[in-house]
């Protein structure tokens, strides 16, 4: 078997970058103080924490005091949705059908609590029509939550347009920017954002660290109680090393890497679309993340393709039902209008800054061959021809 290992699943998680690891390093066993402690060990930790807050804030043009650190994107999304809902007590929330589970599941929870939720449709490319947001607003709408970029198909929403609408109507806008952070423009002022969820492990930072931007003046009810950390909004000893790593990751990602990844992405998309029959691109042709390719292959099933590619050292993801514990295909692909049978043959390859052109060449070849191998076993493909 080949010893090559090519990681093309950066939407799931990313390796910690060297610079990030080096930034974190001193905070494990040297500057290990608790940021709440008064002594010098504590003050060192506190300083690192506040400096990190400023660095993160800079990447979205917010004030440092508007950033609350959490344990990840899931906690940030839960805090945003349930924190605002608890504050308002009742009302209506607008979101979309293609949101991440950490948005949809809290929404279900809020429905149980008596809130009402509108799940907006998206078009065949995964775009939310800002006009639909405007149309769904009600007197009692307390929050709109639309993800900046979709984790499966990579479609990037025009969040600034949505922001104009919500700001004008005086309704809070939250965006889950876990996938887009440092890849797409994020400017809380220009885009009129009130709450933004981000996390570290999607941008070459460590797992278990996230943040929630809460615009100054926006009141939120904490979802976890304890000590007086994070402006009394999020209790718990701060993960200083993780937060320092997060800040470093926010600084070193984006920029030129975006263009580089776009190049690899286009190579990957074109290479497969031109080299394989019976395949289509899922998601938007242009408004898509610089690192996302998502294919639908006819006549084969995604988990099988994923595992065959894995045996050749290429790590990808799929929205196939067979890969989920519940045996239901991806709600995102379904919302794009794909039939269940079309969802099964999906493959997601998401790039990172450490991937190379050669790796992409290898991956294209592997995909071609394994699709062909699986079609060789498939009755469905034979029939089609």
């Amino acid at each position: 078997m080949d010893n090559k290992r090519i990681y093309l699943d950066h939407a799931a998680t990313t390796p910690v970058a060297k610079e990030v690891f080096e930034a974190m390093l001193p905070y494990f066993s040297e500057r290990y103080g608790n940021a709440s402690s008064l002594h010098s060990f504590g003050q060192e930790a506190k300083d690192a924490l506040e400096e990190s807050r400023e660095r993160i804030a800079k990447r979205m043009n917010s004030g440092a005091e508007e950033i609350i650190f959490t344990s990840g994107g899931t906690e940030s999304n839960n805090l945003a949705l349930k924190g605002i809902a608890a504050r308002k007590g009742k009302g209506h929330i607008i979101t979309s059908k293609i949101e991440h589970a950490s948005i949809l599941a809290p929404c279900r929870e809020l429905v149980n609590q008596g809130f009402s939720v509108t799940y907006l449709d998206v078009d065949e490319y995964g775009l939310v029509d800002p006009g639909d947001v405007a149309g769904a607003l009600r007197e009692d709408t307390i929050l709109v939550s639309i993800g900046h970029a979709n984790n499966e198909v990579g479609t990037v929403q025009d969040i600034g347009e949505i922001g104009k609408i919500t700001r004008e109507k005086g309704v809070l806008l939250h965006t889950d920017a876990c996938q887009s952070f440092t890849k797409e423009e994020l400017d809380v002022k220009k885009q009129c954002l009130d709450l933004v969820s981000i996390n570290a492990h999607k941008i070459h930072g460590p797992k278990g660290v996230g943040a929630l931007y809460i615009r100054e003046g926006v009141k939120i009810i904490p979802q976890s109680q304890g000590g007086e950390h994070e402006k009394n909004i999020r209790a718990g000893t701060e993960n200083v090393a993780g937060i320092v790593g997060f800040a470093k990751a926010a600084e070193i990602t984006g920029g030129k890497q975006v263009g580089y990844m776009k190049g690899l992405r286009d190579q990957l998309i074109k290479g497969v679309l031109s080299g394989v029959e019976g395949v289509r691109l899922n998601g938007h042709p242009e408004k898509r993340l610089c690192n996302n390719a998502n294919y639908g292959f006819e006549g084969i099933e995604g988990e099988a393709l994923l595992l065959r590619l894995d045996m050749r050292g290429v790590a990808c993801s799929t929205g196939s039902a067979c890969s989920s514990r519940s045996l239901m295909p991806s709600h995102v692909l379904l919302a794009l209008g794909l039939k269940p049978e079309e969802c099964h043959g999906s493959l997601r390859a998401t790039l990172g800054m450490e991937n190379t052109k050669e790796e992409i060449d290898y991956a294209i070849q592997a995909i071609k061959e394994e699709v062909s191998n699986l079609r060789g076993i498939s009755p469905f493909w034979k029939r089609k021809q």
Binding site: A11, A304, H344, I377, P379
Partner: protein, 151 residues
């Protein structure tokens, strides 16, 4: 996630393909669920002289298809009808709980092929097999609550 044996049968499936001179075919599964299996049989006397398959599905679907053909080949029809999905699972060193249904599908495919063969050749079909045939045809794709980790 998968046992060594499952991965081995998935990566190197036995008896892949169609039988040009097949005596019968069992077609099971449903594109909505993502699993489709076709099991071809060639009968000589009372024995399955050859068994082949074509499968669209996940690793477990492919491995169980492969396994069922391997086990069935050379068996008498009666022996083949006694093959249980449990035997398939065991001889593959186990399957994740959510994938056990694939082994059922593979066994069902074989049964359907035999049913098809018996019918075509005007041979007697046991009541039990008729009932199995009816169940298989009536079964729709089972689906649970939808949820993904959605990384």
């Amino acid at each position: 996630m998968y046992s060594k044996e499952v991965m081995e049968h998935f990566m190197h499936p036995r008896n892949v393909g169609e039988l040009a001179d097949a005596d019968a075919v069992g077609e099971v599964g449903n594109p909505v669920c993502g699993d489709i299996m076709w099991i071809y049989i060639k009968v000589k006397g009372d024995r399955l002289a050859d068994v082949k398959f074509k499968t669209l599905g996940c690793a477990a679907a492919i491995a169980t298809s492969s396994k069922v053909t391997e086990l069935a080949k050379g068996m008498t029809i009666d022996e083949a009808l006694e093959l249980s999905n449990k035997q398939i699972v065991e001889s593959l060193g186990g399957l994740p709980p959510v994938k056990v249904h694939c082994s059922v599908l593979a066994v069902d495919g074989l049964k359907e092929a035999i049913y098809d063969y018996l019918k075509k050749n005007g041979r007697p079909v046991s009541e039990k097999l008729v009932r199995e045939h009816e169940r298989i045809n009536s079964e729709k794709c089972e689906t649970g609550e939808h949820s993904h980790n959605g990384k």
